[in-house]
Amino acid sequence: MFLAAEEGEKVELVGGFLAEWAWLIPVVPLVAAAAIVFFGKRLPYKGWELAVGALGFVAVYGTALLIGHAMTPMGFEDHVTLVDAGTVPGLGDLVLEWGWTVDGLSIMMYFLVGVVGFFVFTYAKGYMEGDVRFTWFFAAFTLFAGTMLVLVSAPNMIQLIVGWEGVGLSSYLLIGHYWEDMENVWAGNKAFITNKIADIGLFLGVIVFAIGAGSFRFLDVFEAVESGAISSGFAVAGALLIFLGAMGKSGQFPLHVWLPDAMAGPTPVSSLMHAATMVTAGVYLIARMFPVFDAPAVAGDIRWLLITIGVITLFATGLIALVQDDIKKVLAYSTLSQLGYMTAAVGAGAYTAGLFHLFTHAFFKALLFLAAGSVIHAVHSNNMSDMGGLRSAMPHTFRTFVIGSLALAGILPFAGFWSKDEILATLNHDGYTAALVVATAGAFVTAFYMGRAVFLTFFGEYRGQGQPHESPPIMTVPLYGLAAGAVFFGFLNVPGLYTGFTDWVTARVFVPQEYHPESIDFVVGGIGLLVALAGIAAAYVLFFRDAESQAARDRFSIPVLYPILENKYFIDDFYMKGIINPTRLQIAAAVNWSNDRIIDFAVNAAGVATRVAARFVYDILDQLGIDFGINAAGAVTGEAGGALRLTQTGKVQQYAAVVVAGAVLLAAGFIIFA
């Protein structure tokens, strides 16, 4: 049905039984999270069974929806009115609603969160075994899944905010899971505050669109932008504000600083939240609001900004990954870099390409984190300088990590090749040549740091403590599950052969207007592949043999550049020393000082002055009803003695005195007004 529709048109899509019950998708994990908090500890698996059961449900439901959607495209939403929130002058009622969307975009995300989440939750049982807060971990992790699905299912912007902040809360809780260590607490705070700053944009953007459209519903907003009911200026401002929100969640430069620190959380959290799903919420939001970002009145003004931010992010953060020793940090910077690709793609109007990369990246990056977690589990260190030679000791981890790395590096025929190629091809077609060049160079960097990670971790001699062993099956089996995605899911969208993914995600009420490659762009794809192979080759030369790797790293320590990268371009330092600490320490102290020394000083001085004046009058005029001042002053100095004496003698007189004073003022008032 939707195939008949021209791009850029609105189509009527159907729901059906599966769509009508899809509200269960966010609700089941949320209920499970609450149940884990209250009953988890009494269950045989300490609550894990509820968590993984909820994710299993989402995975099955998401898969069923995807199959149903592939057969008959769905474009469904339903709403429950929570409350009529009142009228905005001149613009009508604003209604708060709860609802759920079932269309191509949200179904893709349900599937992604469910399937990747199921594997990660399964793995997490093995990884978190013996943890002090095992049950709480799964409660918070399931809360994340539920709130992420609230976000994805939202047909209106209020619900989106609820989900958005909900995943932020889960992120804070899980980054700081080991809160005994202040480092982790700081990391959690940093994530929360950075996102909160970006949320200024999200909140105000939502306000701009909601008031412009007179509704919080996305579809109404799209209508209003299309019809011009929201003026071009407001639409541009709103889109920029929303993008600021997206930059926080999706770690775009210069708000990327929280994500590497977020690696303080347990590895399954890094895998599912800080790589596969939560951090893609910003890209998802741009895709959800694509009809706004791509509207003729908006796109011309903001496209360059989205592409620029995306490209800076993908290249700048990729370079930092080159110098990290902590394997999770390598992957974290890599995630930032890939989010840069996605942002550049959706920013350039390549809706499908950006989402396709989001989709494949979720599988191979979740895989890489879990495999890295398996290594960390074995060697009890995050640092690659404590690893090496693990190929034989951990064959399953090795194999799957290599698959993930090849997919990330963009090597044919793994998933990352297809999705990255689609981004490059679209940039090429749309004439964003500079972006294309940087993105291709980024592909070299990607392949280089992944090659480095593989060689330092799995080849050469073991440099750590003890004897590492392969992880138990509950951890290795999910690795293979995700590896299957990393190998095969690229074939879901091969231009000219099979483009199922394009059909899925573009089947929604507002069909995005965009370019779809008709056939493989062999030039761009070929160059991309060659560049990636060159990156691996370079890493091989520098890092393959362990004995030389130390020297190689020294050789790699390019003067000037290396310290800049090691210090993350000094951005974190600038934020901390230039903004956070001055606000937290100097400005706050100055405000507090002004409170005590200026405002309150005036108040206290008035009290003391009253006492002095009262004493003067009292001494000279002898008790002429200025007890008020005396007592006030007496109380201020504590001269009046014990509390009881004060309270029993002081206030009635004071009260009377003030009422008398009031009456005097009153009389004055009447004289004036009459």
């Binding site: 958005w164 902040e165 505050i193 102290a589 007004f673």
Partner: protein
């Protein structure tokens, strides 16, 4: 039940605590159980009648004053016993009776020095009458009486059961005992404001033809344009002083950190949860409807002061080392959002203000309960000495974490709606108000939410998280006991319910607010 709907229900809600106070006074001081039970019974009866009022309230007609009566009272000045509730006052009335009951329950075995539950409970019950009365009064003199009745018990609570540490006043070198200093400051500051407020009331009385203190009649006159010009300006200014001190708005706020910090736990809870709302309620109930033209003239100035309160209060929080003082200062910021909502003079803004008042009452009340219980155990409020509370007392720590999240406006919890909708309302204030001022206020208010998150997370970091300091490592701590949980769990649930289902409040307020704005500014 006709008698109940004709004013008896509301009168019982208001005066049952006062009767209770009289009964408690007659009981022997030694028999603490009888004293406490009697207080609890009367507070609960008041809560119960307020709930019945809420159940019998006609939600199809929330803009009308219901369940009330209008009787002759002080004939000489034609002041009448005119009471009633509408959709705006009803949530606040129920909040005040509920918080009172929870305070009695919490107090059951948490008595601040110098003990004396009898006196303490008598004061609390008198306070309850004052609070509930303020929310139902429809006569300015009646309102003023209840408004002032609230003062004395709170004054005694702080002055007698308050903090006994000494402090040197900055810049004056005078040493004061905190409870005496804070109680007098609270009393005089509020009285200073309310003297002007009374002046304003009297001016309205004499200007009105025929002379009346009736709020409904005065509102009609106000809409008809009787109170305008210079007269209106000065009356609004007088009322503004009275209410702004109570809210409190910057720069009239300095009584608040001292009073909240020095007050005994229950005193802080009642101050934060209810007393501050008397000010914002006064704006909505009295200033706006009676002086609509002046409200529009003053709105930008109020919005500016509101935003200063938000930013200033949040920054001051970041500088605090005392956990209770931090929570106290947080009220300045949060009430700033309420005032910002009111200043927009729109449906959304005033709805935001009312739900913001209720949410702040619940959340900040709970925060003060928690701070009190921590002080009870650690005997210090200095955050630098605390840490790892989550490990020592997981239940108390967990509730503290939850409440802090609610306070920073996490969507899905009660605090979100007031904040977000105040910003929403500021984007498009009432026609004719200065857009530049309000949109700037919106942006700065949004920046305030970041600072709010900052100080609350930092507070959690210092109090709840990290390793347990050596000082406490070997000590035995009791996690939350039954009385504490009985007082806290209802507030936790209310935070959740209002967060997920804001209609719990908007259902009552919306029509009333729409009608108020329509009649007053339409």
């Amino acid at each position: 039940m006709e008698w109940f709907d004709n004013g008896w229900g509301l009168s019982l809600t208001v005066f049952l605590p006062l009767v209770g106070a009289a009964v408690v006074m007659a009981l022997p001081r030694r028999n603490e159980l009888a004293v406490k039970s009697t207080a609890l019974v009367f507070a609960s009866l008041s809560l119960l009648t307020s709930i019945i009022v809420a159940l019998r309230f006609d939600y199809g007609d929330t803009s009308q004053f219901q369940m009330g009566t209008d009787l002759a009272w002080i004939e000489a000045i034609s002041s009448r016993f005119h009471i009633g509730v509408d959709g705006i006052s009803l949530p606040l009335l129920v909040l005040s009776t509920a918080i009172t009951v929870l305070s009695v329950i919490y107090s059951w075995n948490h008595w601040p020095e110098p003990h004396n539950p009898k006196a303490f409970l008598v004061l609390m019950l008198v306070l309850a009458t004052g609070m509930a009365g303020t929310f139902v009064a429809l006569d300015l003199i009646l309102f003023f009486v209840f408004f002032e009745v609230v003062l004395l018990p709170m004054y005694f609570m702080i002055g007698i059961w308050g903090d006994r540490t000494k402090r040197r006043l900055a810049g004056l070198g005078v040493e004061v005992e905190m409870r005496l200093y804070a109680s007098i400051k609270f009393f005089l500051f509020t009285l200073f404001g309310s003297a002007f407020m009374l002046l304003g009331f009297l001016a309205l009385f004499f200007k009105a033809e025929p002379n009346t203190f009736d709020m409904v009649a005065l509102s009609e006159l106000g809409r008809a344009g009787v109170f305008t010009g210079t007269f209106g300006f000065w009356v609004f200014a007088a009322l503004f002083l009275g209410f702004a001190v109570k809210v409190p708005m910057w720069p009239f706020h300095t009584w608040l950190p001292d009073a909240h910090t020095a007050a005994p736990t229950v005193g802080s809870v009642l101050l934060a949860a209810i007393l501050l709302k008397l000010g914002t309620y006064g704006f909505v109930r009295i200033s706006l409807p009676i002086l609509p033209q002046q409200a529009q003239d003053w709105a930008p100035a109020i919005a500016i002061l509101a935003v200063i309160s938000i930013i200033y209060g949040s920054l001051a929080c970041l500088a605090q080392t005392d956990v209770k003082r931090l929570i106290a200062f947080s009220s300045v910021g949060h009430m700033g959002f309420v005032m910002l909502g009111i200043a927009t003079l729109t449906d959304i803004g005033i709805n935001a203000a009312v739900i913001g008042m209720v949410a702040h009452g619940i959340i900040t009340g709970l925060l003060f309960f928690l701070a009190g219980s921590m002080q009870h155990r650690y005997h210090t409020r200095e955050m630098s000495r605390l840490g790892g509370n989550m490990k020592l007392m997981p239940v108390l720590g967990g509730i503290l974490g939850f409440t802090a999240m609610a306070s920073l406006g996490l969507p899905g919890l009660a605090g979100f709606w007031g904040e977000f909708m105040a910003l929403l309302g500021s984007f498009n204030p009432l026609d004719g108000l200065n857009l530049g001022v309000f949109r700037t206020a919106m942006v700065l208010g949004a920046v305030g939410t970041v600072l709010t998150a900052g100080y609350l997370l930092w507070m959690l970091q210092r109090v709840n998280l990290g390793e347990v300091p050596a000082e406490w490592a070997s000590k035995e701590f009791h996690d939350a006991d039954g009385f504490e949980l009985a007082a806290w769990v209802p507030l936790v649930l209310a935070t959740l319910i209002i967060g997920i289902w804001p209609k719990a409040v908007f259902g009552a307020t919306n029509d009333a607010v729409v009608s108020l704005v329509e009649r007053t500014f339409g």
